[in-house]
Symmetry: C2
């Protein structure tokens, strides 16, 4: 080891999920939206001037902040935007979690929370979900340095109600409570109405799922202006110009077309229902999803084998070798046709497995 | 103060430079390039598919890393890309500067270095430039936690030679030495040839200046693969998908057109020379610039007043109320016409000032 190596920050290298690129693939592994973004987005791109490329973007991202604050009926200084909700959440962790007490988030939840905590040397504890993969509210009543709740939770797909989130807030008025609502648009309940009452609440959302714009890298959060100001001060101390001209322009355009947005949500939710029903008919346990994915398991099937079987058919879903969920799959909701292909192959796998059992 | 406020990270809020938007303005205050990016860039944008928006980008940024490593004849694992060189530098500070000893950088240099050091709680010292605004190499011979040298330096515009940078490296083999080459393409000397010899050297560059793409937010750095790997591990622990689809695609396209790139550099350097000559004729001291800006002062004129006078004419240059440089201006190199307008107004100001003196 060279001398200069000893001061390198050591992290558990986080390996991003597989992003296969095959012409015939059905990609149901990273919760992308199968439908394109609003038609106006394409038009805006074609109209972009080269001048927009040569000049620095607006560091305050005013155009996007304004359209989002108007959309959610908030003040302009209550919205912060970043390079995907990962950027927003990482900035929030760095800004708000500077206590010596541990921050709290569930054992099974978005895989990035403990990565940020480790990176920034934030102590943390992970109370276990109950046997039905629900968050136990009492676990969050103890003294802590902050709370992070994904609602709906991932990869469980379960959404808790407003009363649940308010109970967490009532018991945690001295720390920042982050509610990560990456998936809330697909039928979940947002904590937004609680923003007026709790000035320590920060809600994060993203354009990557419901707005079909994972490739644009746009996330945002909402909170009282003191929180947003503190995050902006940290952001301006890292990189003033995070959002490029393209992201700002197409982000604004996407928010404008609310009818297209909501039609898209309805399509996903309808496909989610038919897919869940079909899976249940095949004997799968399917969690009640308020997201654009299903979290499924099967009492008599090896779901990791199913994951690998589907891979051979160029259908990509998500599996983790993690304790408690190693026989579960997370399946993003694609188009009707994509889900039909997924179900056909899954049915095939179930039949093969049943034959194998009867032969034994 | 509420209880939750006491764990908020306190930073000196960095206020980004003014970005005026006026139809008739001449913007010489943020070192943007007056010429558009390569013609192919516009074509690529028009060809972008909506599919590129809906899917996550490549977390490894392989297309851009590949084109840059080929361009500089480096291995693929020797290049890291980020959201502008600020993102790259901030990631490097977080990754490499974890010593209890102070890192070293000049008192007059890029204003972000001490902001990052404060944000990440990195101790630092700032040896003073000499009376000619040159870096004193001996100041960097002492024990330290890392070294950061902007070369060419900003806002002085002065570039040190390869022998100077190698001397710094020879005296600092146990820490990471960052050479920030944001402006090097405009006639400076890159430390790139030293990469083979010094595995603790990290060189950062940007698309914002020489490649006319400040609005795209693309920066990169080059170093030995152990350094690049460590930065990628930190990056994947903050935000895996930092570069959006647009930035990746236009970045690749820009690097391809090397003739256009170099023609653009020649134009800027020629305009820089004629502008510097004209300013010297007006009695200004003009540093020998290897950047796309001039750093100028005048023995008998109040340069802050000139800055304010130019503002009233919608010509924006940069002035700092900072010790040692408060009678200096930084003037970005615009088009021939823009510099003519700047010189005409400056001449006007000089004449008015001389008349005022003779009246007294």
């Amino acid at each position: 080891m060279k001398a200069w190596e000893k001061n390198i920050r050591t992290v558990d290298p986080y390996v991003p999920g597989e992003q296969p690129v095959l012409d015939d693939m059905i990609k149901l592994n990273t919760n992308e939206n199968p439908y394109p973004p609003a038609p106006g987005v394409k038009e805006i791109i074609e109209q972009m001037s080269v001048k927009d490329i040569r000049l620095y973007p607006d560091a305050n991202c005013s155009s996007l902040v304004n359209v989002l604050s108007a959309y959610y009926q908030l003040e302009k200084d209550q919205v912060f935007v970043g390079v995907g909700s990962d950027d927003v959440l990482a900035t929030a962790f760095l800004t708000f979690f500077n206590s010596k007490k541990p921050i709290l988030f569930p054992d099974i939840t978005y895989a990035f929370y403990d990565v940020w905590a480790k990176l920034y040397h934030i102590p943390y504890e992970r109370p276990a979900l109950d046997e039905n993969f629900r968050i136990r509210r009492e676990d969050y009543y103890k003294e802590n340095g902050g709370v992070v709740i994904a609602n709906p939770n991932a990869p469980t797909s379960i959404c808790e109600g407003l009363e649940f989130i308010e109970d967490i807030l009532i018991h945690n008025q001295d720390v920042i409570v982050i509610v990560d609502e990456a998936y809330v648009d697909f039928g979940g309940v947002s904590a937004r109405p609680l923003l007026r009452k709790y000035d320590n609440l920060l809600i994060t959302q993203t354009f990557s799922k419901s707005r079909s714009m994972a490739g644009a890298r746009i996330g945002y959060c909402m909170g009282n202006k003191r929180l947003i100001q503190a995050m902006n001060e940290v952001k301006y101390s890292i990189n003033s110009y995070t959002m490029n001209q393209w992201a700002l322009q197409i982000g604004v355009e996407a928010v404008k077309d609310d009818v297209y947005f909501k039609e898209g949500l309805v399509k996903i939710m309808r496909t989610r229902q038919t897919t869940a029903n079909a899976l249940r008919e095949l004997g799968f346990d399917v969690m009640d999803s308020k997201t654009n994915f299903l979290f499924v398991t099967h009492k008599h099937l090896d779901c990791k084998q199913l994951f690998e079987y589907l891979r051979t058919k160029h259908i990509f879903v998500r599996h983790w070798d993690t304790e408690r969920i190693s026989n579960y799959l997370r399946v993003s909701i694609g188009t009707e046709n994509e889900m039909k292909a997924f179900l056909d192959e899954t049915r095939q796998f179930v039949q093969m497995s049943q034959q194998a059992v009867s032969v034994q």
